[in-house]
């Protein structure tokens, strides 16, 4: 078929004229708000900072808030011994310190992720029995545990997670949310100060290494950055926690 000259113009003009009468796509945002699903939280993304380190601090808040439990994350402690949650292998504690140094300029000790000491599990067993291993009564369980031990030992939390089936991330989130729950015994102040001193030295070393690498290569890479990842997977099966699986 011989193309008629001007036919394309006519086609295009008719298209725009049809568009002219069609309903519009704009939403007048502050006045009109589109109906989003109740549990919609926007788009999930893992961001890297300018040193090439993940910005995620593994605070588990996103995993805890995720309504369809599609966020799955995990990490290990500094020495690679304590597995917080299953997922991509990750030196959580190390990165956490790094992030804390970078963001606040001081080390922020977190007793919950130190290598935990063995505890007498009798009180926990009794408490769990009393609350019927019900993860929905987690706050009461945690309060009772703190009453029994004076604080929340990591071993007890670990055990609670194992017995109730609740993710450790959720228990940790619950425990950090309430101010009256604490991870260290009230008398542990001097110890904390001592660790703070130790970490001050590590902070200086870290900053020096960072400066050296920035000045030397100029590639903007952290000397130790790049090997840490946080796994995020869609559609991981909800329900039983890692300890049970």
């Amino acid at each position: 078929m011989i193309p008629l000259p001007g036919l394309g113009i006519v086609k295009g003009m008719s298209l725009t004229l049809r568009r002219f009468f069609e309903p519009k796509a704009t939403i007048r945002y502050p006045e009109v708000r589109i109906d989003v699903p109740h549990k919609f939280r926007g788009r999930l993304q893992l961001l890297y900072d300018e040193y090439g380190t993940l910005k995620c601090e593994t605070c588990f808040q996103c995993a805890q808030a995720c309504p369809i439990e599609c966020i799955d994350m995990g990490g290990m402690d500094t020495k690679g011994r304590y597995h917080i949650h299953w997922g991509a292998p990750e030196t959580y504690g190390e990165r956490r310190d790094e992030s804390a140094l970078r963001r606040s300029g001081r080390p922020v000790p977190d007793q919950a992720f130190a290598h935990f000491d063995p505890i007498a599990t009798g009180p926990v067993d009794e408490i769990l029995e009393r609350f019927d291993h019900d993860p929905k009564r987690m706050l009461e369980i945690l309060e009772a545990t703190q009453e029994a031990y004076g604080h929340l030992p990591v071993g007890a939390l670990k055990l609670i997670s194992q017995r109730t089936g609740a993710w450790y991330a959720m228990i940790y989130g619950t425990a950090t949310y309430y101010r009256h729950l604490r991870f260290e015994p009230p008398a542990a102040e001097p110890l904390a100060a001592a660790t703070a001193d130790a970490r001050q030295g590590r902070e200086t070393a870290y900053l020096a290494g960072l400066d050296a690498s920035l000045a030397g290569s100029g590639s903007g890479k952290s000397p130790r950055g790049g090997q840490r990842t946080t796994g995020k997977r869609r559609g991981s099966p909800p329900g039983p926690g890692p300890a049970r699986a």
Binding site: I9, M13, L15, T16, L17, R19, F20, K24, A25, R28
Partner: protein, 458 residues
Amino acid sequence: MTAVARSWNRLTLAGKIIFTLIPILIVLTVGLLAVILILGKPIVDFLAANLWLVRFVVAATAVLLMSVPTAFLIIYMEMKVIALMNLRIGPDRVGPFGSLLSVVHGLKVLMKEDFSPTGADRLVFTLAPIAVFMATIMTLLVIPFAPGLFGADMNIGLLYLFSVSGLTVVGLLMAGWSSFNKYSLLGGLRSAAQVISYEIPLTLSVVGLLLLAGTMSLNQIVLQQGPHLVNGAATGGWFTDWFVFRQPLGALIFFIAATAEANRTPFDLTEADSEIVAGFATEYSGMRFGFFFFAEYVNVFVISALFVTLFFGGWNAPFPWPWPVNLALDPGSLGIGLLILIAVVPVIGTLILAAPFFVARSSMPAWQALVIGFVLFNLLAVVAIGGWAFISLDWVAGLLWFLGKSYVFVFTFVWMRGTLPRVRIDQLMGFAWKWLLPASLLNLFVTAAAIVIVGPRA
């Protein structure tokens, strides 16, 4: 501190302004009265003897005044129509449906710094936007808006229009040259090349029409497309009399060339706002830049109005219209009753129109009902008076037809801008010289041959 200073300081800002203005106003009023009393007779005599002067002043003022809302309306149309075609909403914040946004744009442009680059030729730099603006505004003077409503009915109206609008090129070149910027100069030269190239097919495309019409007066051309007297009785008046049906090729060429002449898409290479900076207007800012834009949008209206005038019957209705209908209304016959009517009818009308709302909804307070009634009464009055004017004054109906047809083509220009991509500069030039010019010459020769064979009014 003296007593005078103390009293002055106690005044508010508005009070200070009024206190200063009142004596000035008094002096001015007295002076004006004195001038009228002493020199009134000679002035009136002089004006009566030189009515063209009055006509010129009134027409120039009217044209300048009408250019402002026209440009604002077209700028608003441009924003809104293209937005609607892009499935957007477009301006919707200022005024009803965002219609005052172009006013805000105008204020913004007014408040910007009046900047001229180092090394620029200040005088020419300042005069260039004025030249462009004046060339556009002056073309409005010969366009017949309605029966009897035009600035001047020149017998060379069309020639005047083409020559004056050709002065735009001078303004563009001035702008490009005086900016002291090689890109501005290139832009100015490019726009000059484009505008001059398209002047030729534009002018040649209407020569065939001039042969048919036998006159260059735009008013006469419009009259020839309307009902004409045959043996004392008005006949015709259908849209088939329009020149577009006798000069279809001429109308097409005119439309394409006019698009290029008005720097509209797809021929808006002069300032291709999505590709180059702004061509000749690169160095312009503030109100000087605003004048270029103003001129451009008024030019869109002028081109549409000219197209309607030449090819689409001007202010003629597309069907025989029994105007003016002489309604035998003589308000003066009411005597003193007229005054009473003027005083009483708005009140009664407002009350009558407010009553249904007040009665129907018990939750509505009386003042709300009264406001609704007042607004309704005003609407009714406007509709009644407008309808009466439309029926019995032929220039009102003619003006409405003319503006309606013109804005159809303004809409078409905007529509084209929302649709068509921009052509390349060599395509632009090649199209003008290789296609439009031969086509307009063909149109001219065919028309001339037809007139020789058949006669001027077939």
